[in-house]
């Protein structure tokens, strides 16, 4: 049963007042206005797990991120569609997230191979060794930022290796991505900003693969180089290829470290849970990581634009209107999870929405899960006793990608 917001309830999900109090707002939406229509943005906001599940499973080019999956409030306010917007361009090929079927799927298939489960599992030793080496450097400092200095550096090093970029560039790329994702109430960031900022890093990687003959030894890039747009048989330009790869780069750099560091911190906050997980780390940590992902995933929402009239989660949406799936709210929905605001390492998790769902389901899910598990495993094995200096900690508060960007850990033993 869904309810449309009545005229006496108005809220701007992008306003600083709401952002400062987001969890409470999400709860009020879930309880009282599970489908909230915002006239200024011409957008339906879905906050319950079941509804988001239904929205994101819609296929057949009915709901697409043609405008953007992460639009700015300014864009939403100033652009209202009368009818379905045109499909994204395929010549030149638009950035991956904006594309419709079958192009979206073809671009994805051309670079997903190294991110598939068994390929990713083969990276376990690499990630574990990187984590171990990183800890050897960091532990003598006795205090460091677990998000960036540890998980972040390992995550971006893995990404650089997938792109064939020198590890020496890792820190600079990581800082750039995090600066873009950082919330600043005076400016809005949409996905386009990431594309513009990372072009200069990704295009040299593509050119290096072309120069090396794109023989398939780099599975992330070579498939896009050898891809041909049919029926004309056109090859993709460097820029078009770059536009397909930005999401894999940003996701691997920005999101995973926040989940890893907060996940370890949530265990530390609950010593009895930390002890229980440590009792059999190999068996228990993969279970705890599922809860870390549910509880700590930074992505707050994803937008789609309707390309035809449709009824979804009990609401009629006209072509051109937008729907926003509030992913974090869904993960805290008491209709899906008992005591959802509590971190419970071994809670039953029947379904997850932290990686999104449907067409855009996170392409890096397996890599992220492996990295979180390996990073937490190495940390908890190597460090016997630690505490967090939460007075000095810093959170990215925004409404797009929230989470602990500075989480100082103090090594006690």
């Amino acid at each position: 049963m869904t309810v449309i917001a009545s005229a006496d309830f108005q809220i701007d999900l992008f306003s600083p007042e709401v952002i400062a109090n987001l969890e409470a707002v999400y709860k009020r939406l879930r309880d009282e206005h599970p489908v909230y229509y915002d006239r200024d943005y011409d957008t339906f906001f879905f906050s319950r797990f079941d509804d988001v599940w239904e929205v994101l499973r819609v296929g057949d080019n009915a709901l697409l991120a043609t405008e953007s999956n992460l639009p700015t409030p300014e864009y939403l306010r100033t652009h209202h569609n009368t009818g379905a917007p045109p499909f994204a361009s395929t010549n030149p090929m638009a950035p991956g997230p904006k594309l419709h079927s079958p192009w979206y799927e073809q671009m994805r298939a051309a670079h997903i191979t190294p991110l598939r489960p068994k390929r990713v599992a083969a990276l376990a030793d690499l990630v574990r060794n990187l984590a171990r080496e990183r800890l050897q450097t960091l532990l003598p400092q006795r205090k460091f930022n677990l998000t960036m200095d540890y998980a972040g550096v390992v995550g971006v090093t893995v990404i650089c290796s997938l792109f064939g970029l020198p590890a020496a560039r890792a820190r600079e790329i990581m800082d750039k991505v995090n600066e873009l994702a950082r919330y600043d109430p005076r400016k809005s960031t949409d996905l386009g900003a990431f594309f513009a900022a990372l072009t200069g890093d990704i295009i040299p990687a593509i050119q290096a693969r072309r120069a090396a003959g794109a023989d398939g030894s780099n599975l992330l890039i070579d498939g896009l180089i050898s891809y041909r747009v049919e029926p004309e048989g056109r090859a993709l330009s460097d820029q078009e290829i770059c536009d397909q790869l930005v999401c894999a780069m940003v996701g691997g750099i920005e999101s995973m470290p926040k989940v890893t560091s907060q996940g370890i911190m949530e265990l530390w906050r609950r010593p009895e849970q930390l002890k229980a997980v440590r009792a059999d780390l190999d068996a228990n940590l993969p279970i705890a990581v599922q809860e870390m992902i549910r509880y700590c995933a930074p992505a707050q929402y994803t937008f789609r634009t309707a390309h035809r009239d449709l009824t979804v989660a009990g609401v009629h949406v006209r072509a051109g209107q937008r729907v926003a799936s509030l992913l974090h709210s869904a993960s805290r929905d008491e209709r899906e999870f008992e005591d959802p605001d509590e971190f419970i390492w071994n809670r039953p998790i029947r379904r997850v929405l932290s990686f999104g769902l449907g067409q855009h389901h996170c392409i890096g899910k397996h890599l992220a899960t492996l990295e979180i598990t390996a990073l937490a495993h190495e940390f908890l094995t190597t460090v016997t006793s630690f505490e967090f200096s939460l007075d000095e900690a810093g959170k990215n508060r925004g409404v797009m990608q929230r989470g602990w960007i500075n989480l100082p850990v103090v090594i006690l033993d």
């Binding site: 499973r57 296929g59 079927s101 079958p102 799927e105 994805r108 298939a109 997903i112 191979t113 598939r116 489960p117 068994k118 390929r119 379904r351 990686f355 769902l357 449907g358 067409q359 389901h361 392409i363 899910k365 397996h366």
Partner: protein
């Protein structure tokens, strides 16, 4: 009275399938993730006894790439 046998066919949208393997975990007797991460459907027609398993697999597919089609 004529007896009718309802068979259920598992249909995979190969353009959507990423090879996440959730279906293979939910219903290993019906799906397998091959060494190259492609999905193999072990039985594409399922009878009543396997229907619940097949439904579970459809439910957990994060790409919504699976569906069941009734055939008479």
């Amino acid at each position: 009275m004529q007896e009718t046998h309802t068979k259920t066919k598992i249909v995979v949208d190969r353009t959507l399938c990423d090879g996440n393997g959730n279906c293979a975990a939910a219903a290993p007797e019906l799906f397998r993730l091959e060494q190259d991460d492609t999905l193999k459907v072990l039985r594409d027609m399922v009878d009543e006894s396997q229907r619940a398993k097949a439904e579970a697999a459809v439910r957990v597919c994060p790409k919504a790439a699976l569906k069941l089609v009734e055939e008479r």
